[in-house]
């Protein structure tokens, strides 16, 4: 496969690892991969087993399912149980436990939950069910958020009156800053590849400059990630903090202007609650008042149950990189992919699920 298998070459990987070791010297370095797809790729290709022990890879809050707080899961469940509403969601979200139940369990109890593969499937669902209100559970980062915006614009163009969105969409760069202000030592970021396609490499400049944190944008194949690690370790060795783009075959400095255009057209920055991390100002994407007729929370009021969090679950600390999944008392005991307690065990890109699956 072109542009895939060339990036999995064992010999080149071994060379990169040797160079990482040389640049590291005896230093202890902690890098954070912010994107869940990187977390998965690192596990899938067994990269931790290849890297030197004094290079630590922390998994950040880069899975949109994992960072969606209980209160929004409860809200989606309330919509699923409401007469006349079909709740459309991506598959992984259906399994995430809310305060007392999940969308999947709510479905078994008579709630109407439809799993969709894309935002446009949700629009189609609205067209096919004119007598129902379709509420789409819009999770995602800058990668998915433009498709949520596009769905709203499509619904407007098609004159749909029964398509609504609960937006749980979030943006990444300010969350990275919040992590740098926290208690966990992060020597550099492996920046998300897909998100960067949209926002561009320039979006990380203030992080590199303002916090002296090197940022490398990279792809999802093993050689991408290893090369990013090498570039980061070199920056740490040299005392530099630059934004470098290893993923230049896909990511441009300014990102994708068209996608950013529709994002800005439909959404505005709001504060957002990140599971386990708390409210990070300006990292949420709320629907602008011009599009309020698509905003489920404005148009279809529902009552939700009182939010309850499991006190033993350390998803929040895992998402911040402060703890590893294996540090959790629930990990692989009470919390498993069959019976998840925290969201990080649910999503294919959750750190706990990735550890469980590949470790």
């Amino acid at each position: 496969m072109k542009f895939v298998e060339e990036f999995r070459n064992k010999e080149i990987a071994a060379g990169l690892i040797r160079r990482i070791e040389e640049s590291l010297g005896g230093r202890q370095v902690s890098l954070m991969e912010v994107c869940g797809t990187h977390t998965m790729a690192i596990q899938r290709f067994g990269l931790r087993s290849l890297l030197p022990k004094n290079l630590k890879l922390l998994s950040g809050p880069g899975c949109p399912v994992c960072v969606t707080p209980n209160e929004l899961v409860d809200l989606a469940i309330a919509y699923a149980m409401k007469q006349g509403v079909i709740l459309a969601t991506f598959g992984d979200m259906a399994k995430v436990p809310g305060s007392s139940t999940s969308l999947l369990k709510a479905k078994a109890a008579g709630g109407r939950v439809q799993i969709v593969y894309s935002t446009m499937d949700a629009v189609k669902l609205a067209e096919e069910n004119p007598d129902k209100q379709i509420v789409f559970f819009g999770i995602g980062f800058e990668t998915t958020a433009p498709t949520i915006a596009a769905a709203i614009l499509q619904a407007e163009q098609n004159g749909l009156r029964n398509f609504f969105v609960v937006t749980a969409a979030k943006t990444i760069p300010l969350a990275m800053e919040a992590l740098l202000q926290g208690e966990v030592r992060i020597d550099g970021f492996i920046c998300p590849g897909h998100v960067s396609v949209i926002i561009g490499s320039n979006a990380y400049r203030h992080i590199a400059e303002g916090y002296h944190a090197p940022c490398i944008i990279t792809g999802f194949e093993p050689l991408d990630i290893l090369q990013a690690a090498e570039m980061l370790v070199q920056q740490v060795r040299d005392g530099r903090a630059d934004v470098e783009n290893q993923y230049s075959r896909v990511v441009h400095e300014d990102g994708n202007a068209a996608a950013r255009g529709i994002l800005e057209k439909v959404f505005e920055a709001r504060d957002a609650n990140w599971r386990g991390i708390g409210v990070i100002p300006g990292t949420g994407l709320g629907i602008r008042s011009e599009y309020a007729r698509f905003d489920a929370q404005v148009q279809i009021p529902v009552e939700t149950e009182k939010t309850v969090e499991n006190k033993l679950c350390i998803c929040g600390l895992v998402l911040k990189g402060a703890k590893e999944p294996t540090d959790c008392r629930l990990f692989a005991k009470r919390c498993t992919p069959e019976n998840p307690v925290g969201a990080c065990m649910v999503s294919g890109e959750g750190a706990c699920a990735a550890y469980y699956k590949y470790h």
């Binding site: 895939v4 899938r44 290709f45 995602g140 050689l223 290893l226 699956k357």
Partner: protein, 333 residues
């Protein structure tokens, strides 16, 4: 003539003349029934060592690249018998038909069942037909049960040093079905590997004593079957990702959808655990059969990783291949 009806009616399952004629004119005629129809098939069986299995088939769509529900139902049961070491002899055919199914579709499926059975040297000797109201099933469901015999069945504990052999590319069936079913707007050349494997398995006869276990990795794919082999034992299995054969189209579609072909269903492959040093011999025998051309040794039983299935990745790292909880879901971000 009742079978001139275009579509299946509820009456075709009623026990009356409609059903009688349908069974005679479609099933019995195709399957080559002989003499009087009794309530049971009465058969001569050559052995006291009997293997017996059953499976139900609910695949959607009924016809897919490389096969159809009929071919699948016959192959699947033949394969379940073959991989325990048995020679399959007789099958049953239970049909649950949705009212309104086109008669030509039913005929096509029955013909495909007979063709597959005939090619495999197996007879379909008994059956049952039910018709349910429209909406109560999805077109056509098929159940087949089968019996076979063997002098010895493959049922041994795996041991350290044993080798793992697979008979061809993995993930073909599941990916072909997925590509045919879901509206991805993709055109692929993928075909299901669906085929009866009794012939392939019998080519291994000179090495039967070296075979510990054999399975056909259907739902859950190669990784799930190998997990079942090591579960609860004191040793692990280590695979070499680079040796596992996969079609380019399967790999590409998997990458696109975020699926792992090692967990995707096969319907015409066997995976074998055999004694140390015998893998290559098995491979050379299997490669002489048209269904085993891409046979290869893909790994071995090791003392490390007790109870686990692990794999050396293309990039040189090592990872665990765990049992999946349920279906794989496409990626969301």
């Amino acid at each position: 003539m009742t079978t001139t009806a275009d579509r299946i009616l509820l009456g075709h399952g009623s026990g009356g003349k409609l059903m009688h004629d349908l069974i005679r004119e479609v099933m019995v005629r195709e399957f080559g029934g002989r003499g009087k129809l009794l309530d049971s098939a009465i058969l001569k069986f050559p052995s006291q060592n009997l293997a017996f299995t059953t499976d139900s088939y609910v695949v959607r769509p009924l016809f897919f690249p490389g096969g159809d529900i009929g071919k699948l139902a016959v192959s699947g049961t033949i394969n379940d018998l073959s991989v325990v070491g048995a020679r399959p002899l007789f099958l049953s055919c239970g049909l649950i038909i949705e009212e309104g199914l086109e008669m030509s579709v039913l005929q096509k499926v029955i013909r495909s069942m007979q063709r597959t059975a005939q090619k495999a040297g197996v007879r379909i000797v008994t059956g049952d037909t039910k018709v349910v109201e429209k909406g109560s099933c999805d077109g056509l469901f098929v159940n087949t049960a089968g019996v076979g015999y063997a002098e010895r069945f493959f049922d041994e504990e795996i041991r350290v040093g044993d080798e793992i052999v697979v008979s061809g590319t993995v993930g073909d069936h599941g990916m072909a079905i997925l590509a045919a079913r879901e509206d991805f707007g993709l055109e692929t050349t993928l075909r299901s590997d669906c085929a009866p494997l009794n012939g392939l398995v019998q080519t291994l006869k000179p090495c039967f004593s070296k075979i510990r276990l054999m399975r056909d990795p259907t739902r859950g794919g190669l990784a799930t079957v190998l997990n079942e082999f090591v579960e609860g034992t004191n040793h692990g299995i280590l695979l070499d990702e680079e040796r596992i054969p996969t079609k380019k189209a399967v790999r590409a579609l998997s990458e696109l959808l975020g699926l792992d072909p090692l967990y995707v269903a096969n319907e015409g492959r066997v995976v074998i655990v055999c004694a140390e040093g015998t893998g290559e011999k098995l491979v050379s025998l299997m490669r002489k059969h048209p269904l085993g051309k891409q046979s290869v040794v893909i790994g071995k039983v090791v003392t490390d990783y007790p109870g686990k299935l692990c794999m050396t990745t293309q990039a040189g790292g090592t990872r665990i291949l765990d049992m999946l909880v349920s279906d794989q879901l496409p990626r969301i971000c």
